[in-house]
């Protein structure tokens, strides 16, 4: 089961890379929003959030920064190295607070048909969940939900906005 999925993920990342390599670099999508110190992995131990309670999204975001969310290429759902770093930060946080359960929300950009995007969001959220499980997070702590293209965070109809909307966001719901 896990090996089968891992194979699929590997295959997908291989095709994903191939597709990316072939794609003409007309314009690279800008990096996802960098609100708290860029895309580098945020060391969890050094960040002591003040104010926010353990078990809230604020506390989680305060601890891992922008690593609450990972981003995908068009129609892809493979976890790339940047995503892997973010998910490692998440896994460390969830290892430190084992009582916390959370939901991975999968999303797609608006440039896809509605039903396909629901299925794609499910794939992306599941890819993120599987990676977290491979890092030792108990699968029973992780719920998955797809919102397809129904809940964008960036509102433009341009490559930069779409890149921000193709995402899997870990959300702590109290």
């Amino acid at each position: 089961m896990n090996t089968k999925l891992a194979t699929i993920l590997l295959l997908a990342s291989a095709t994903g890379l191939a597709a990316c390599a072939k794609k003409a670099p007309e314009q690279l999508p800008p990096p996802p929003e960098t609100n708290t110190g860029g895309n580098t992995m945020q060391p969890v131990t050094t960040t002591q959030p003040t104010g926010a309670q353990v078990g809230t999204q604020q506390h989680f975001a305060g601890a891992v920064g922008s690593s609450t969310t990972i981003y995908f290429d068009t129609d892809r759902y493979n976890v790339d190295s940047q995503d892997a770093a973010a998910l490692q930060a998440q896994a460390q946080y969830f290892a430190r607070y084992p009582q916390i359960t959370f939901t991975v929300e999968g999303h797609a950009d608006e440039r896809g048909t509605r039903e396909y995007n629901l299925a794609l969001g499910e794939r992306r959220a599941t890819a993120a969940k599987n990676y977290l499980v491979s890092l030792g997070v108990d699968a029973n702590r992780i719920a998955v939900v797809s919102h397809g293209k129904e809940r964008p965070v960036a509102l433009g109809s341009d490559e930069g906005s779409w890149a921000q909307n193709r995402r899997a966001a870990s959300v702590i719901i109290n």
């Binding site: 509605r114 629901l118 794939r123 809940r151 109809s157």
Partner: protein, 469 residues
């Protein structure tokens, strides 16, 4: 029926919390078939076979049709119109005129610019009045209120040049259903002049959209084919998507996030109750009816992978139809129920595939470049409409082997085609760049007569039901 509505009202009043949890509004209640009647016994006309041909069928879209106000035998009060049956007759003629004009069919002239025929002229038109107005066709009709409160509506089509009757029909409707008689009359005219099957007396389920792009409120809604009799069925606290009317209009399949996850519900229009399409922890999306209404296709993601399943409409054993690591989603039955067209990205991108109804013999049919999504089989069986993705999103049609592909629309994002019951017109929804505003549009099979449907708020995911009995 009345007592049912009353019970439903009491229930909603007594349990507002429960109603909120379900996100459901008050039930609409079911409606039955329209009773056909002899056009009018008082006219003492025997029904004769009609064997005339239209003067020039090739140019029917240019045919001028005069549609004066329908007459009434006796001015009476009716709940259908505060001003009585005479005023109602004018409204009926207006609805017919709007139907024929809005769909780019013929050149109708309505009651507001025409003389009003007397009741006795309905079966004996004064043709000289109409030939002088360059009308080639003439529609006459009447509205009569019966003692039991029901309305009898008669509809007659005449060829002005031949001075002959082409077709006639009559219907008995409740006052609330008077527009259906106007649609039936529109269908009678359309079918007689074009040789095509009718479509006006049909309904559309869709999603009404309000609010900003990142917090869109999406409600299940229904309306007549001309946008009238609009109703919201859900309250908007949970996102509703992708409705489908059952072939008999008694139920609607749709997706709701009411429990936080995307799940398909079967909403019973008569009772206002809904049930899950299948009891399963996995998310279910993309619901579809079989043509006989006995089976439901849906797509379900298990461990992240979406495949297509079938379940009896009454519940029971779920059968898995596709088994593939790619996304298999949607599906649309051929009219005879023997095959299903669906989309899959198993080749690396969304393409359209056909399989037997039991899932066997899956084969790709779209090879024209770009992507093929949301395929919908025409009710006539010979065409498949789909969303073509090649840069922009547009509505395309192809034959059932994937050949003769034609792109019918030119919007930035035109998505999710649905067929008129007669397979001549396609509705879809168009989303605006940046704003995310959406509306329902329609175009006919030739790519002509594109127009936006009037809806009270933004609209998407149209699903056109069959012709009503």
């Amino acid at each position: 029926m009345k007592s049912l509505m009353l019970v439903a009202l009491m229930l909603t009043a007594a349990m507002p919390a429960a109603a909120m949890a379900q996100d459901l509004g008050a039930p609409v209640g079911e409606d039955g078939p329209v009773e056909t009647t002899a056009t009018d016994p008082s006219q003492a006309q025997t029904e004769e076979g009609i064997s005339f041909t239209v003067t020039d069928e090739s140019a029917w879209s240019d045919i001028g049709i005069a549609i004066p106000a329908f007459a009434t035998d006796r001015e009476r009060a009716t709940p259908a119109n505060a001003d009585g049956t005479g005023a109602l007759g004018r409204e009926v003629a207006r609805v017919i005129t709007a139907n024929l004009r809005n769909n780019g069919l013929f050149k109708p002239v309505g009651p507001d610019s025409l003389p009003q025929p007397a009741f006795t002229q309905i079966t004996a038109p004064t043709f000289s009045t109409w030939s002088g107005r360059s009308a080639e066709m003439l529609v006459h009709g009447y509205v009569r209120a019966r003692d039991d409160g029901k309305l009898v509506v008669g509809c007659y089509l005449y060829d002005v040049a031949l001075q002959d009757e082409l077709v006639r029909a009559g219907w008995v409707v409740g006052p609330a259903d008077w527009r259906r008689a106007a649609h039936k009359c529109s269908d009678l005219i359309f079918a007689r002049l074009t040789g095509e099957s009718p479509f006006f007396d049909s309904r559309i389920a869709y999603i009404a959209e309000t609010g900003p792009k990142d917090r869109r409120v999406k409600r299940l809604a229904v309306m007549d084919s001309d946008g009238a009799n609009h109703r919201f069925l859900t309250l908007g606290s949970a996102t509703a998507l992708t409705p489908r009317y059952s072939p008999d209009y008694s139920k609607i399949l749709y997706l709701s996030y009411v429990d936080g996850n995307p799940r398909i519900y079967v909403y019973d229009i008569g009772t206002g109750k809904q049930t899950l399409v299948t009891e399963n922890r996995s998310p279910t999306i993309a619901p579809r009816w079989s043509p006989d209404g006995r089976s439901i296709l849906f797509s379900m993601a298990v461990a992240g992978n979406t495949d297509i399943y079938r379940v009896p409409a009454t519940g029971g054993t779920v059968v898995k139809l596709t088994d593939n690591p790619g996304i298999d989603v949607g599906g649309s039955y051929s009219p005879d129920g023997s095959k299903v067209v669906f989309e899959s990205d198993r080749s690396g991108s969304q393409q359209c595939y056909i399989m037997d109804a039991d899932g066997k013999n899956q084969k790709r049919i779209s090879f024209f470049g770009g992507r093929c999504a949301t395929p919908e089989w025409s009710p006539r069986g010979d065409q498949i409409a789909f969303t073509r993705i090649a840069g922009d999103f547009n509505v395309g049609v192809m034959n059932t082997s994937g050949g003769n592909m034609r792109v019918l629309t030119r919007g930035w994002q035109d998505e999710a085609p649905t067929w008129a019951p007669n397979g001549r017109i396609i509705q879809f929804f168009r989303t605006e760049k940046n704003t995310g505003r959406s509306g329902i549009w329609q175009v006919d099979l030739t790519g002509q007569n594109e127009r936006r449907l009037p809806t009270p708020v933004d609209a998407s995911d149209p699903a056109w039901g069959p012709i009503r009995p």
